[in-house]
């Protein structure tokens, strides 16, 4: 255990001892150091950093539960924290469904699997270098975006004897190059700053923005589409929060039905924080170690994400997907992989399209109905007409109103790309590992400019 984790462990242990026999307790002590450099109009206009330790305590006494948190770590602050949580719990009604604490169970992988010391130590100068390279690759065109580095150390201790510790770093460059005709986007998400190539991302964005013709307006309607990995990862957030969340299923708010074929047979979906291609800590908010969870196998729904409460209700074990604030949200898989079928180069997918659209990014998408998962949103950062297998002119941004469940449904997936990468989800909850998808139809309901 690192020095940082040892210090956090001591705080967690102290809090559990302060609670003593008065309640069951689970304490999470998290240290986070974050730096983020933003650029716009091709210069750095915001450059921020912060560091803090937070202590989150949840107590349950006689079935009565409450939580409290603080950013203070001295004894007085910790005593206030314990007193506050115990006092609050005492006046709560009994929770008959309280599932108890996570039992002692070791992590399944090295708790520092995703920790890169160089990323943890990176300062604003290192981030500015990445930004400088991105801007330079824009060739004088207007650029905007961000470069972020973060390091998290976390320890969870509970009064049932569970004690786990994990550290992770993350790094990202995500930016656009803008032209009058179109914007282009380039990004890399990783656990290591060294993986970020600002010049390559800038060049990728520039290749979209600077090499295209005049944009054309397209009539609304259903179009065959090739969605980029960013678009697919964007949609996976909706699947995980509204679909494969066991609480949503138990309450009848989800489309997901275990045992049924609900997606195309080309698609398999799983969650795995222990895969080194992903970024994250080794345990969930309740202290259950992370492990692989299969959600969809060849189109058939085979699993749901559970926390201890939903698992107890279904008579199964927690899958390790409790999230902070889970009492209201449920269990959420935050390290998704989507794959399946024969991995196809994007160029081949485009060649097979007689008339359709190549979509590079989605934006501001919200759910109209959680059960059917109909969402509405817009295209962004490049959408192109495909005609007779060739990418044509850029298209003015379009609004869509579409259920991704239906669009990814049986018979609807015509190809799965060989270009899977980490990309951010559309509700900003997680990064997901996703490929391009070639879909039979996507419902565009209007133009963005009128």
């Amino acid at each position: 255990m690192s020095t940082e984790l040892t210090e956090l462990d001591a705080i967690g242990t102290k809090v559990v001892e302060m609670v003593g026999g008065r309640a069951d307790a689970v304490v999470t002590v998290t240290s986070r150091r974050q730096g983020l450099t933003r650029f716009a109009n091709s210069f750095i206009h915001q450059n921020v950093g912060d560091e803090h330790v937070s202590v989150d305590l949840r107590v349950t006494a006689g079935g009565r539960s409450a939580g409290a948190s603080t950013t203070g770590v001295d004894d007085a602050a910790l005593r206030r924290l314990v007193g506050s949580a115990l006092d609050a719990a005492a006046v709560q009604p009994v929770d008959d469904d309280w599932p108890g604490l996570a039992p002692p169970s070791p992590l399944l992988v090295d708790g520092a699997l995703d920790f890169d010391p160089a990323t943890a130590a990176a300062g604003p100068g290192a981030r500015a270098d990445v930004v400088d390279n991105f801007v330079a690759a824009g060739g004088g065109a207007e650029t905007a975006g961000f470069c972020e580095t973060a390091a998290t150390d976390a320890v969870l201790v509970n009064s049932a004897g569970q004690r786990v510790a994990s550290s992770a770093t993350s790094a990202a460059i995500d930016g656009i190059v803008r032209s009058r005709r179109a914007d282009g986007v380039g990004s890399t998400y990783s656990s290591r700053l060294a993986d970020l190539d600002g010049a390559a991302c800038g060049a990728a964005a520039a290749s979209t923005a600077l090499t295209v013709g005049e944009p054309v307006d397209l009539a609304p309607g259903r179009y065959e589409v090739v969605l980029s990995p960013r678009c697919v990862a964007y949609m996976l957030d909706f699947f995980t929060i509204y679909g494969f969340n066991a609480r949503a299923v138990q309450e009848g708010r989800s489309f997901a039905s275990v045992g049924e074929v609900q997606l195309d047979s080309l698609l398999s979906l799983w969650d795995d924080a222990t895969d080194p291609r992903h970024v994250g800590l080794g345990f969930d908010a309740e202290g259950t170690p992370k492990r692989r969870l299969d959600l969809v196998e060849s189109g058939k729904v085979v699993g749901l994400a559970h926390d201890r409460r939903t698992a107890a209700k279904d008579g199964v074990a927690s899958t390790g997907h409790a999230v902070p604030g889970g009492a209201a949200i449920g269990a959420v898989a935050t390290n998704l992989f989507l794959a399946g079928g024969r991995a196809t180069p994007v160029e081949d997918m485009v060649r097979s399209v007689r008339r359709g659209l190549l979509v590079k990014d989605f934006w501001y998408t919200r759910v109209l109905d959680p059960r059917t998962l109909v969402v509405t949103g817009l295209t962004r950062n490049g959408v192109f007409l495909i005609e007779d297998g060739a990418v044509g002119p850029p298209v003015a941004n379009l609004r869509f109103t579409q259920s991704p469940v239906a669009a990814f449904g049986p018979g609807q997936v015509l190809g799965v790309g060989d270009d899977a990468v980490l990309a951010p989800g559309g509700l900003h909850t997680a990064w997901h590992h996703a490929p391009s998808l070639h879909l039979a139809a996507w419902n565009f309901t209007g133009g963005a400019s009128g």
């Binding site: 939580g67 009604p93 009492a327 209201a328 109909v374 900003h428 309901t445 963005a448 400019s449």
Partner: protein
Amino acid sequence: MAGVEGALAAGARYADARVMIRRSESMSAQNGHIEGLDQREQAGVGVRALIGSSWGFFATAELTAAAARAAGTVAAETAKASALVPGPPLELAPVEAVQAHWESVCVEDPLSVPLSEKGDLLVTVTAVGRHAGAQLAQAHYEVWDTEKWFASSEGARISQRIRECGTGMSVTAIGDGETQRRSYPGIRGQVGTRGWELIREIDLVGNAARIGEEAVALLSAPVCPEVTTDLILGSEQMALQIHESVGHATELDRILGWEAAFAGTSWLDLAQMGSLRFGSELMNITADATIPGALGSFGYDDEGTPARSVDIVKDGIWVGVLSGRDSAALAGIPCGGMVRADGHDRIPMVRMTNIGLLPGPHSLEQMIAETADGVMMDTNRSWSIDDRRLNFQFGCEIGWEIKDGRRGRMLRNPTYTGISPQFWGSMDMVGGPSELVAWGTPNCGKGQPMQVGHTGHPAVPCRFRGVRVGVRG
């Protein structure tokens, strides 16, 4: 002052520091059971340093003079790193440096109300809300008690205490293949810079059964037709309409391109301010941070600028923006005093205050009576708008057919879509002062790292002509 001194010693030409201590409490309940109770305490100091044309910001949770001074030093070093990719010369619009204290009005301290009383309220209303046959009844309240101290290298010394709270509930009926939800008083409840007296004024108990019955009735109501028609919006949905299509569109940082890669830009061009027609002559929008009790109110913003009211749209013409000291200086306009951060660890940025539509000469009753064929909608359910804040599509929880001047049958899944200046240009009736509600939006996401802002939106019912409704997937 240690944070400011640390930044100045490290080379800053301007620096400011904010100490913030925020205590918050939230409780949620579902179907007669408490689901969560959390109390949080967050404290720390954030220091901002300006070197040349470059900003740097650093925050620490350690509240000692030494830690604050060190944070100031790191903020200045961060600003120096920013200079590797420098921007144009940057000045700050002048603001008088004052020494002052301000507190929001709070009659009943929300953190002193017994937890048992709060819990009883949520348990009761969620039990009642479910009785109509709906499967899920949920309720919540949230309380924030924020103390902050601001100091700048120009001599400002400002302390503030802002207490906010709010509550709301929703009932969800689950049918065969879809869900229907009704909320009260709005999708996000109602939130203000007030004490627990606000929660007592919101009659959750008296409305729980009604929204439960409406949620169930919606399951069998006809779907909102896909037509172009006259649209009447209730004040809660109008608040969202104002927030998304006027508030964000008139943020000066977006107009200047500072949010281009994430939140987006704006369809507005500064060269057209003062002449561009944004809406009909009935459209009058102000940004007023001085409204007592509204969620976007304060005494001074997080740059030390006193709260004020600024015209944004006057008689349908776009006349103003939301700004801070640096953006205002770049645009050559007076500082609007609209810069805030959602914690000590976040850099202040342009934020909506209370962006509201001034009341007009009509009433909701009059709008219905004078509509031969149309749809009325209220209570926001979904929202989506493009990165230039031009094309929007919003869904509401409930709709009603309007035929021959009467409100008719209920409609489910009502949505409408439009292009901002065309939509606002079609507004021909605006509700009166007695229908004004200062709605609070406690979840406005913006910036990186993401900040959650608290904004206010005074709104009245309005009528729009020739709107496309009933868009479906």
